[in-house]
């Protein structure tokens, strides 16, 4: 067994973890469970990444390559193929396993950047048998883009999140027939640009307010029955339609991956990730968090930005230089679903990330009574970023708590 003592340990080598390790610098160790760093970027061969961070349109692997360059220049150490299996939070002591055996790490600070997993088919409780041919979108994407295999011949896609939309286009371009994309909500789950570029450009129908009522087929999927749903998402009798497909692709949501820190870390039940302050520090002082395990972000650029913040803060903490400020709690008000951070720290660069629960055409975003920002269209599929100027922050942190709300403008 090997032992390591480091200033900062980063767990997870996706965009958040790479950016965190790069900004934490020397005396940092990054652990990645896969054979290579890059995380989900490696399988996202489409473009659309990097417009904010690099002011260029990049593919996922290109974006990952840029981050890898930053990581290498930072002189942080990277060990891949190594999985963290336990964290003793008194210490802390982190236990990992890899092909070289066990590894025990004593970090001064830890950045948790494990990303998210895909919500499984079983959680839908769909009636029917359990045939082959049902894939989460990310799994199908790895089969196509990394391993070079198609999931089937004719697909139906459930869920119009970004991965679902992108997979619709990808499978269509690879010669599969995509019968339709089915979405239970009255609006698409993914970005508008993806609805246009992935579905409309290829005449793939998007069926809103529809859900799956049954799957068919004993060995391999032979068909899927869908139905229109009412306001409480229950199927409307008589509206059933059958699609003869051998493949069902699910883009029904991502679940932040926090299994190992759950026992000792306060979690925000709506975000489903740890409560963090604006420095991306959790309520366990040595534990920082970044990326989709905090909340599901829309853009990898944002994920890298919060990763950078978490890494820099963790490095300061490890050196005993992170200010111990009084915190101002952020409270969800009207029409706010996801909200990161959970609290503000004085004098640090602060960005609020929030997601509304219902769309509004002309909206006003309020942060306490200090900031009121007009926003032409807000919808659940598009995260809102509010950069808080220093003078506004100084006003906000005078209070114990600040309400964030999104109202009709």
């Amino acid at each position: 067994m090997r032992e390591k003592v480091v200033d900062v340990l980063v767990v997870g080598g996706g965009a958040a973890g790479m950016a965190a390790a790069a900004s934490a610098g020397a005396q940092t160790l990054l652990l990645e469970c896969d054979a290579e760093v890059g995380g989900v970027l490696n399988q996202c061969i489409h473009t659309g990444f990097g417009l904010h961070r690099y002011r260029e349109e990049l593919t996922g692997p290109e974006f990952g390559h840029r981050l890898l360059g930053e990581l290498e220049r930072s002189r942080a150490e990277v060990i891949s193929g190594c999985t963290v299996i336990d964290i003793e939070h008194h210490g802390p002591v982190v236990h990992a396993v890899g092909p070289e055996g066990r590894l025990r790490i004593r970090p001064k600070a830890l950045v948790w950047a494990t990303g998210a997993g895909e919500r499984p088919f079983g959680s839908l409780m769909t009636p029917g048998p359990r045939p082959a041919g049902i894939f989460t979108a990310g799994l199908a994407q790895r089969f196509v883009n990394i391993h070079g295999f198609l999931p089937g011949k004719r697909a139906l896609i459930l869920g119009s999140g970004d991965i679902g939309l992108i997979m619709a286009r990808r499978l269509h371009l690879e010669g599969m027939e995509v019968a339709a994309v089915v979405e239970v909500q009255p609006f698409p789950g993914g970005l508008t640009r993806n609805v246009v570029q992935c579905l409309e450009d290829y005449n793939i129908p998007l069926l809103l307010c529809h859900g799956i009522t049954e799957v068919h087929g004993r060995d391999r999927l032979t068909g899927v029955t869908i139905a229109q749903v009412d306001k409480s998402r229950l199927p409307i009798a008589g509206s059933e339609r059958h699609f003869a497909v051998d493949t069902l692709i699910l883009s029904i949501g991502l679940i932040p991956e926090n299994e190992l820190i759950l026992p000792f870390t306060p979690i925000d039940p709506v975000n489903r990730g740890p409560r963090v302050n604006s420095l991306m520090q959790t309520e366990v002082p040595w534990l920082f968090a970044a990326g989709n395990n905090v909340v599901i972000f829309d853009l990898v650029d944002t994920v890298a930005a919060v990763g950078e913040m978490a890494g820099a803060s963790a490095a300061l903490y490890a050196r005993g230089e992170l200010p111990q400020e009084r915190l101002t709690r952020l409270v969800r008000g009207e029409n706010v679903l996801h909200l990161v951070p959970s609290s503000l720290v004085a004098e640090s660069p602060t960005v609020l990330y929030l997601r509304v629960s219902r769309p509004i055409n002309a909206a006003m975003v309020h942060v306490g009574d200090v900031i009121s920002r007009k926003q032409s269209v807000v919808r659940p599929s598009e995260m809102i970023e509010i950069h808080i100027p220093q003078d506004a922050l100084r006003e906000l942190v005078k209070k114990d708590e600040v309400h964030v709300k999104v109202t009709e403008g």
Binding site: M1, I85, V97, P129, H147, G148, R220
Partner: protein, 476 residues
């Protein structure tokens, strides 16, 4: 002596293993691609105490004895078994007389340790139980296990003692002449035999027909379940039963070996032809949820990772059919409905030791090894042993299933021990059994299967037959 056991479920597997204790050639035939994929795979995974059984019946005797045998059997075969205990809960004063009746029935059956607990005690021990509960019958010998692991381990131990396993080989006819078994025919060939044991689960009536017998008649009863991930935490600590009605034990809330919770089963009688109708239904899943919520109203369904249905074989008189038949050399262990999992070890022991050994005049084997090491979860091993394993083979350090921490080494070993497809790997190693249900590791496991079996990735199946996962290569 050449003896064939038909059916690689828990009953057939344990019978086959039991037979390898004697001088004989034992063959086990299973029509599915792996062991334990029928009734064995989809049930409550409970080792019952025996208080639900009518006193004086064969079922009551075999259930109580089977429960006792689990202790040693699970140790010998290295299979998880935990005596978590069970509460049969009365939710109103009206149910109290029934609960008292059950208590006395349990005593008559010789169920150990039964106690009546008052409301205060049960709610202290099970804080998430319905606060309207008025009393609970505590049965400490009730246990939980992994039925498919037990079946696999029994077969692997049997193979170590000379058992010949024939999976994906369906028996199509049985040859009988002069009132005596001569042999069987399968999809693969013909076998001359001295004896045949029919342990074909749901299909045991078809196998009996092949031998010319009209009994038993088996009717499938469908039970639907929901599985909650271990993230649900310490929500319950023992198995929870409602006060039963005449027809079934009712819908249970049961902890699973890996820390999750199982809800179910429903009980829907199907036609004799519907023996493959193991699909879930909207109504069934709803009924299971409602039944479970009567016991634990605070149940959070966001932890559900899977719904599934199992079929159990019912006879019209609800009796097990165990023993010799009018045909010499043709034995049966059929109609093994609930509590079949519990009774399986005692059924195997009774049928082999008290019936077959005498009828066939078998003699014991000196060389029988009763212990077996299954594929251990590497993370359950002591650290020194784990270090040695990884040092000898680095694949034991490469974690493939991130949810259940299953390594490449364990997956490769499972394949070398007979896993031929994704479900084979899943049921032997728990890879893909966790909260993501294979979303993040299915591709890795599929590629390992293809590599080890020397087939193309698009030939790998979910569970044999036409259940291929992939549709061919992308355009090049």
């Amino acid at each position: 002596m050449r003896i064939a056991v038909i059916g690689g479920g828990i009953v057939g597997s344990l019978i086959a293993r039991e037979l390898t204790r004697y001088e004989s050639a034992v063959l086990l035939f299973e029509k599915e691609a792996d062991i334990g994929w029928g009734v064995t795979k989809a049930n409550s995974a409970i080792v019952h105490g025996g208080l639900h059984e009518t006193p004086g019946t064969e079922r009551a005797r075999l259930c109580v004895e089977g429960n006792r045998l689990y202790e040693e059997l699970s140790r010998d075969l290295d299979v998880p078994f935990k005596r978590v205990g069970a509460y049969v809960v009365a939710l109103s004063h009206k149910e109290l007389p029934l609960l008292q009746e059950l208590y006395e029935q349990g005593l008559r059956n010789g169920v150990p340790g039964l106690e009546m607990h008052d409301r205060g005690t049960i709610l202290t021990r099970e804080p998430n139980l319905n606060p309207n509960a008025v009393a609970g019958l505590w049965s400490p010998s009730v246990g939980i296990t992994e039925p498919w692991s037990l079946a696999i381990a029994a077969v692997e131990n049997g193979m170590e003692n000379g058992l010949a396993l024939h999976v994906a080989e369906e028996v199509t006819s049985i040859e009988v002449a002069d009132g005596r078994v001569q042999g069987i025919v399968t999809g693969e060939g013909e076998y001359e035999l001295d004896a045949v044991v029919n342990a074909a689960g749901l299909f045991a009536d078809r196998v009996a027909e092949m031998a010319g017998l009209l009994e038993p008649v088996l009717l499938p009863c469908r039970g639907e379940y929901l599985l909650l991930d271990k993230k649900v935490g310490n929500f319950i600590s023992s198995a929870l039963f409602p006060t039963p009605n005449k027809l079934s034990k009712g819908i249970l809330v049961v902890p699973t070996i890996d820390g999750g919770i199982l809800l179910g089963p429903t009980a829907q009688d199907l036609n004799r032809e519907e023996k493959e109708a193991n699909e879930t239904t909207r109504h069934g899943v709803q009924e299971a949820i409602e039944g479970a919520r009567r016991l634990v109203p605070q149940l959070d369904l966001s932890f559900v990772v899977k719904t599934f249905a199992g079929l159990r074989p019912e006879t019209t008189d609800k009796k097990f059919v165990i023993g010799r038949t009018s045909i010499i050399g043709f034995f049966q262990a059929a109609g093994i409905r609930s509590p079949g999992l519990t009774a399986a070890p005692s059924i195997a022991r009774f049928l082999v030791r008290d019936v077959i050994v005498g009828d066939l005049n078998l003699t014991g084997k000196r060389s029988f090894t009763s212990t077996h090491h299954k594929i251990r979860k590497i993370l359950d091993l002591p650290v020194e042993e784990r270090d040695r394993l990884i040092e000898a083979d680095s694949r034991y350090g490469r974690i493939i299933c991130q949810c259940n921490h299953v390594t490449e080494g364990e997956i490769v070993r499972a394949i070398h021990r007979g896993a031929r497809n994704l479900d084979g790997v899943k049921f032997r190693t728990c890879a893909g059994f966790g909260r993501c249900q294979g979303g993040s590791c299915t591709d890795k496991i599929l590629l390992i299967l293809a590599r080890e079996l020397e087939i193309s990735p698009d030939e790998v199946t979910l569970r044999g037959g036409d259940s291929t996962i992939l549709g061919g290569k992308v355009r090049t």
